[in-house]
């Protein structure tokens, strides 16, 4: 069974600022065992699998309630004060005010319209960091019963169904769908999520780059090639992340935090 750690900083913030604490188990962090994993994007030209070290991951994406407590504690991240370097003009635009959620942003919804810098600052303040891509992908490979459901056509169809349904609509509250085998929820079907190393995702869809002048823009072994070409849900994530810049925000992009497991 995965163990659970409450996010102490979030609780302290909530008490200090008298923000109501989450009625659900939002803010909990789950320990994942890690291990050998075959990612969709291979780590190198000859490597097919990676070792994921044990890590902690938030059970759910960070909510509007939690992010509001953060900007109240760290006003430099309010949308009316944030430096343009750190976020585009749509930052937290669903909220009715810099310090107020208003009717269009429910407290239990995942926070969206946040930049990589803001997500990273939140996780730092909450005692953690953003998950790395491989950690996210490893976590998201599980369904409710097995750790790696990626080859299960029914699971894939379900995920794809979620993605087609959620497009363009404000996200539901976190915690509404069943937790996966690791005890983590909402990895699919709610929002896209930032990862610490989003800038490491450079997709070259095939090997035709040989002799292509574009190849010169990449050092070392060149851009990475996708290994499992029919894992559409993960490829969609990668396509999105590889198109982002650190200050971008979108109405369907949120995040959750992770941390190392202390020995």
């Amino acid at each position: 069974m995965p163990s659970v750690r409450p996010s102490i900083v979030a609780l302290v913030l909530a008490v200090v600022l008298q923000v109501p604490t989450a009625p659900t188990d939002a803010g909990e962090r789950v320990e994942l065992p890690g291990g050998e994993f075959k990612p969709v994007i291979v780590p190198g030209p000859t490597e097919r699998s990676i070792h994921v070290a044990p890590f902690l991951l938030d059970r759910h994406p960070v909510t509007n309630r939690e992010f509001l407590a953060f900007v109240r504690a760290k006003p430099e991240w309010r949308r009316d004060r944030i430096a343009a370097l750190y976020a585009d003009e749509h930052y937290l635009s669903r909220w009715s005010g810099p310090d107020d959620l208003g009717p269009d942003a429910r407290a239990g919804q995942p926070v969206t319209d946040v930049s990589w810098y803001a997500a990273r600052a939140y996780c730092g303040a909450a005692g953690g960091r953003l998950p790395r891509w491989y950690e996210w992908e490893y976590s998201a490979a599980a369904d409710e019963k097995v750790a790696d459901a990626r080859q299960d056509p029914a699971w894939r169809a379900r995920i794809l169904g979620w993605y087609s349904r959620s497009a363009g609509r404000p996200p539901a509250d976190v915690g509404a769908s069943p937790l996966n085998a690791y005890g983590v929820g909402d990895l699919h079907g709610l929002v896209w999520e930032w990862v610490e190393d989003y800038a490491g995702l450079m997709v070259s869809g095939d090997s035709r780059t040989q002799g292509d002048p574009d190849k010169l823009t990449f050092c070392g072994a060149g851009a990475l090639s996708a290994e499992i070409r029919d894992d559409y849900p993960v490829l969609m994530r990668i396509a999105l992340l590889s198109s982002l810049e650190a200050r971008y925000t979108t109405s369907s992009l949120g995040f959750r935090c992770a941390d190392d497991v202390m020995p």
């Binding site: 343009a84 823009t217 990449f218 990475l224």
Partner: protein, 195 residues
């Protein structure tokens, strides 16, 4: 008074204080523009000059790139592109521009290794800034410069290559990924900042 204050602010910064305070000090009373990359609380460990805050680059136009010293193909081209850009400027113009190379390889590119790299490529590290930064600082700086990179299992990096021009206050003002020659557009943008 002002000098000692500046020293105090820099000392605080090196102890982990806010770069914003130093930024405000370096810039006098004018705050940095919102889009300035000098907001980043990044510390550079310079070859020959110790640790300096990123914001210490403020005050003159900067041409900045990210690379790693063990890279055999693109990075030497990046270095040459920087050098060609510098040489295309008149000496008086060149003296007003800072050329900055920050390593992506926080793990292996120690300052000593970067010093060897600079010597091998005849880079004067009093004129140019050749620097190491922590992995977290590399990530933030690369993000601000729009440089994508990934460490490969063999220790090499896959990364995008570009020269970015910053104005005196750290706002990006031009960019090129043409490494074959001194980019004419970039040179024009540099010269425009000098007048």
């Amino acid at each position: 008074m002002k000098k000692s204050l500046r020293r105090l602010v820099l000392a605080l910064l090196l102890l982990g204080g806010s770069a914003l305070a130093a930024a405000a000090e370096v810039q006098g009373s004018t705050p940095l523009p919102g889009a300035s990359i000098y907001h980043l609380p990044v510390t550079l460990e310079r070859v020959g000059h110790g640790e300096v805050p990123l914001v210490s680059l403020a005050g003159s136009p900067v041409v900045i790139t990210m690379f790693y010293s063990s890279c055999l193909v693109i990075c030497p081209m990046l270095t040459v592109a920087m050098q060609k850009t510098a040489l295309a400027l008149d000496p008086s113009q060149r003296a007003q521009v800072r050329f900055v190379m920050v390593s992506l390889d926080a793990e292996r590119d120690t300052v000593a290794k970067l010093a060897d790299f600079a010597a091998d490529h005849h880079i004067d590290t009093d004129q140019w800034v050749v620097a190491h930064a922590s992995a977290g600082d590399v990530r933030q700086l690369a993000a601000a410069l729009g440089i994508r990179y990934r460490r490969l299992p063999d220790g090499n990096y896959s990364h995008s290559s570009a020269l970015t021009l910053l104005d005196a206050r750290g706002v990006p003002n031009g960019r090129t990924d043409d490494l074959s020659a001194a980019d004419a557009a970039l040179l024009a943008q540099i010269r425009a900042l000098l007048h």
